[in-house]
């Protein structure tokens, strides 16, 4: 009947001013209200919490500014009546509340506008941010400036796409001119960015798209090659995928394609392009093809794939006709021979296959027959 904690009304952290007690309590209320998803009440408490920005204790307003920023955006995201106007005015105010997070807030603001399709406004925000300077540039700041630059270029690309869509309907010199200028702006920024090591997938794609439009194929291939083969960049299988796709589109020779796919194979043996690789190799090196297929089958996502098993069947059929096919088999199957049969040919699997996929069962039984003619 009595709860010990029920009436503890006089808990004061020693030596806390009334002001700090108020803000501490306010934050506790905000937390509780947020956990219960009462967004309007949260906004009410936040109105009282804003006075923390005027705290005269050193360094505290910076922390409070960040708290207000994060909680405020959370409320705006979930509040039923929040409009884009509210977001805009909120971001503007928060930007000026603290110096250290100005760039971060600018980025977030422009992301928000980007996601809502307001490309021009997003670009405007980023250009304002680009021209902002305060004190000595810290390492974090310079990183953010790079990011701003990257997204600036990216946004130029989006606007360029829009212009392209309108320009394709009718020939309009002014619109074309604008389109070209956006292309130039974008490429300046993107080129700068891609010199830095990093993962720039969407930016690369947008750049390539633009270059393709202007028929600068060599430029595009160079960019992709740099992106894929630069050692200072982190290993990125997507880079090779983009390079391969582009080359295929531009009908590059088979040897080059195979080279790219080989690297992709070492990076990600279970990649979805591997069956394609395999079929390309079928013309040439059967052993390698066998290797690729067996690697694929090691992964559970490919284990029941009919295409892959078909490939295997074909390879076996063709390989059997050559001499020394046993030796080749032994080489490829080398370290697998203990477990390979058990994994792929269990009774459970067989029952499942016979229920779902009769064809697969047939192919598999052929393979088993080929591998060990004695055991049925």
């Amino acid at each position: 009947m009595f709860s010990k904690g029920g009436l503890q009304l006089h808990i004061n952290t020693p030596r806390e001013t009334g002001f700090h007690k108020t803000t501490r309590n306010c934050l506790q209320h905000i937390r509780e209200v947020l956990l219960h998803h009462r967004w309007q009440d949260a906004a009410e408490y936040m109105a009282s919490y804003s006075q923390t920005l005027e705290d005269t204790t050193a360094n505290m307003p910076q922390l409070y500014a960040e708290i207000i920023w994060r909680i405020g955006t959370e409320i705006l995201h979930h509040h039923p009546n929040s409009t884009l106007e509210d977001y805009n005015s909120f971001y503007e105010r928060v930007k000026h509340s603290g110096v250290k997070h100005y760039l971060k807030v600018c980025l977030e603001h422009s992301f928000h506008l980007l996601v809502n399709g307001q490309f021009e406004d997003a670009k405007l925000q980023l250009s304002i941010a680009e021209s902002w300077r305060y004190g000595k540039q810290s390492a974090g700041q310079s990183q953010r400036i790079r990011l701003i630059q990257a997204y600036s270029g990216f946004l130029d690309y989006f606007i360029w796409c829009d212009k392209k869509a309108t320009a394709s309907n009718e020939y309009d010199a002014a619109v074309n001119q604008e389109m070209h200028s956006y292309f130039r702006q974008s490429s300046v920024n993107l080129k700068e960015i891609m010199k830095l090591p990093g993962v720039w997938d969407p930016f690369v794609l947008s750049y390539i798209d633009m270059l393709e439009f202007y028929n600068d194929h060599e430029g595009a291939v160079k960019v992709l090659n740099d992106y894929a083969y630069d050692d200072s960049f982190p290993p990125n299988p997507n880079a090779h995928v983009y390079l391969y796709r582009y080359m295929k589109k531009q009908n590059h020779p088979l040897k080059k394609l195979l080279k790219v796919l080989k690297i992709l194979h070492t990076l990600v043996p279970s990649h979805e392009l591997m069956p394609e690789y395999c079929s390309l190799l079928n013309e040439g090196d059967l052993q390698k093809a066998l290797g690729v297929v067996l690697d694929l089958l090691d992964y559970s996502s490919w284990r029941s794939n009919l295409d892959v098993w078909n490939h295997l069947m074909n390879i076996i059929k063709r390989l059997r006709m050559k001499k020394q096919w046993l030796k080749i088999f032994a080489e490829e199957m080398g370290y697998r021979k203990d477990w390979w049969l058990a994994i792929h040919f269990s009774t459970f699997q067989a029952r499942k296959d016979s229920a779902e996929n009769r064809e697969l069962l047939e192919v598999k039984s052929f393979v088993v027959g080929a591998f060990c003619p004695h055991c049925k």
Binding site: F19, H20, E44, S48, Q51, E54, P61, R93, K95
Partner: protein
């Protein structure tokens, strides 16, 4: 910013958040930081200055006259406190305090204080040396030295009556030196010397909490019903100016720099702190015996306990028992305050009344987590047998009280969370902080507006008018009520008729060890003792500490004090008295040596 051209236009720029306006050649306003052009044009500004006659004059003459207004006049810190006290007194008068309180009591106390602390009305003021230096430079050196100039001016001020007194008292002081050498780091003249270590050590100087202490002493002298707990509650709710009280200073008194250390508050003092201040102040002022608190005065324990009984929804019949205890404990002798007698400290009128009620309840119900519930069972049985009967049932009272209490506690927490501490016009400690502080103020205000727009109630709810009571007990069906009123119930199930007088049905009484600790050696032992006390007793302490706004330990100590007098006096009394039989309590072996037996 071009003040002259823009005529003091100080809205923020929508784009960059700065206030840095200029006027272009076409007469349009533009922001100097981001070149954002706005709609406002200069012609509009001119019309405005035309309409307000004085500002037009000032814009033509510009130069020195405007500068003087901006700088304001020189003022001293005690003038500031004078204004604050004046506003506080006016607020109290608006709440119903008698009008003599302001002029006859508080004003007199303030003058006595100024005299005692040698800030005025004296032949050797506290700031003597500094002003003499100044007068040599100003060439205004009249025959009389500064000290008598000041004291004469104050004396003349004291002869006038009424309101003019408060306002003019300040003006005359500042007239004497004006060579413009006022201290650069504060708006007032003497803030720097006010805060020197020597002054602080002497502890004579006024501070914001001391204003409240002075008000409390004045209220006590005027025998008004507002207790210290009430005063603090009104300050918390904002009915008496305290936080940001300096915002009501007249325009000419500019505050900045070191003044902020004196006038800015970020906490409301606690009850015990304020009590100590009041005591010290009374001794400092060497006040004589206060006007006696008699039975007709609302501060007297008999009437004050009645008020708290109503507040706590206890039956009126309990008041008789309270009076009997009061009589027994000989409270009459110590109800009036006499500062110069060291053995009679300033009484805690409110906590004392609460203590009396708690003792009465302990007497009737024992409050050891068992007896009171047995008695409640008896009462409810009696009520069932006799449907008209209205015996007071402790369990029912506890339930009603608990629900009301939790709601009120939650509301209080909410109010604490929403309280606004920061002023409209912020104080800054140095010139270079000024722009930062003003910018933060602007941004905080704007954020507040944008959040309010999103909240469910954009307008702040109207503040409740000040009231002496926290809870409202009434009949069902009333609009605002905290629970059914239990005042009319009788205590007949808890009392027995023995001979000529009533006796409590409960024959036992317990108490913790009563010997007082030496005052300087230990503070309250409540935190250690609390775990050994019965939960119902602790709940009761919490209830009254919530009602009064004090710590439970404070109420506990006061109960002990009253018990000392109440029980100690029984030793010298003859046997046939209406006191309960004090037997060895059987259940107290659970508690560690905190109980004592009293022989009759």
């Amino acid at each position: 910013m071009d003040e002259e051209q823009t005529g003091g236009y100080s809205d923020i720029c929508g784009q960059c958040g700065e206030v840095n306006w200029g006027v272009s050649d076409e007469g349009r306003f533009y922001c100097r930081s981001c070149h954002n052009v706005i709609e406002r044009t200069k012609e509009v500004v001119d019309t405005n200055t035309f309409m307000v006659g004085t500002s037009r004059v000032s814009s033509i003459s510009k130069g020195t006259r405007r500068k003087k207004l901006e700088q304001g006049r020189e003022w001293m810190v005690c003038e500031g406190f004078q204004f604050i006290l004046k506003h506080q007194a006016e607020a109290l008068l608006a709440m119903g305090v008698c009008p003599q309180f302001k002029d006859d009591v508080l004003c007199q106390f303030w003058r006595m204080y100024l005299q005692k602390s040698r800030q005025a009305y004296t032949k050797n003021p506290v700031h003597d040396g500094k002003f003499r230096l100044r007068s040599q430079g100003s060439g205004e050196s009249d025959s009389a030295p500064e000290s008598s100039v000041m004291s004469d001016s104050m004396m003349s001020a004291s002869e006038t009556d009424g309101d003019g007194d408060w306002a003019s008292g300040g003006g005359s002081v500042s007239g004497h030196t004006s060579d413009g050498a006022s201290s650069v780091c504060s708006g007032s003249i003497d803030a720097v010397s006010y805060l020197t270590p020597r002054q602080r050590r002497s502890q004579g100087l006024m501070s914001m909490p001391k204003t409240l202490a002075l008000c409390h002493l004045a209220l006590l002298w005027a025998r008004e019903a507002i207790t210290l707990a009430d005063l603090l509650r009104f300050v918390n709710e904002g009915h008496i100016p305290y936080v940001n009280a300096y915002e009501d200073f007249p325009e000419e008194m500019k505050l900045y720099g070191r003044d902020s250390l004196i006038f800015r508050v970020e906490s409301i003092p606690s009850y015990s702190h304020l009590h100590k201040e009041a005591q010290a102040l009374a001794v400092f002022l060497e006040l004589p015996l206060f006007p006696p608190i008699t039975l007709d005065c609302l501060l007297h324990p008999s009437l004050l306990t009645l008020r708290y009984l109503t507040e706590a929804n206890l039956p009126d019949e309990l008041h008789d028992w309270v009076c009997r205890i009061m009589e027994k404990a000989g409270m009459e002798s110590s109800v009036t305050f006499e500062p110069m007698r060291s053995r009679s400290p300033l009484p805690h009128y409110d906590v004392q009344a609460a203590a009396l009620i708690i003792i009465a309840m302990k007497l009737l119900f024992k409050l050891d987590d068992h007896t009171e519930w047995d008695l409640s069972n008896d009462a409810s049985d009696k009520n069932k047998e006799n449907p008209d009967g209205n015996s007071f049932n402790l369990r029912w009272w506890y339930r009603t009280m608990q629900t009301a209490l939790t709601t009120a506690a939650r509301r209080q927490q909410d109010n604490i969370a929403r309280k606004h501490w920061k002023p409209q016009k912020p104080l800054y400690t140095s010139k270079k902080d000024k722009s930062v502080v003003l910018k933060r103020r602007r941004i905080a205000e704007q954020l507040q507006l944008s959040f309010q727009k999103l909240s469910s109630s954009p307008v702040a709810p109207p503040s409740t008018p000040p009231s002496s009571f926290c809870f409202r007990w009434g009949e069902e069906g009333e609009e605002v009520w905290d629970g059914p009123s239990l005042h009319h119930l009788t205590l007949d199930s808890s009392v027995r008729q023995r001979g000529a007088s009533l006796q409590p049905a409960n024959p036992e009484y317990w108490h913790p060890a009563l010997r007082a600790c030496k005052p300087r050696f230990c503070k309250s032992h409540y935190a250690e003792v609390e775990v050994t006390l019965p939960r119902m007793y602790v709940w009761l302490l919490d209830l009254f500490s919530f009602l009064l706004g004090v710590k439970p330990g404070c109420v506990y100590e006061e109960v002990l004090k009253v018990e000392r007098r109440f029980l100690g006096s029984s030793k010298s009394q003859p046997r046939a008295r209406a006191t309960p039989r004090k037997t060895q309590p059987k259940k107290l072996h659970k508690r560690k040596q905190t109980s004592k037996t009293c022989s009759r």
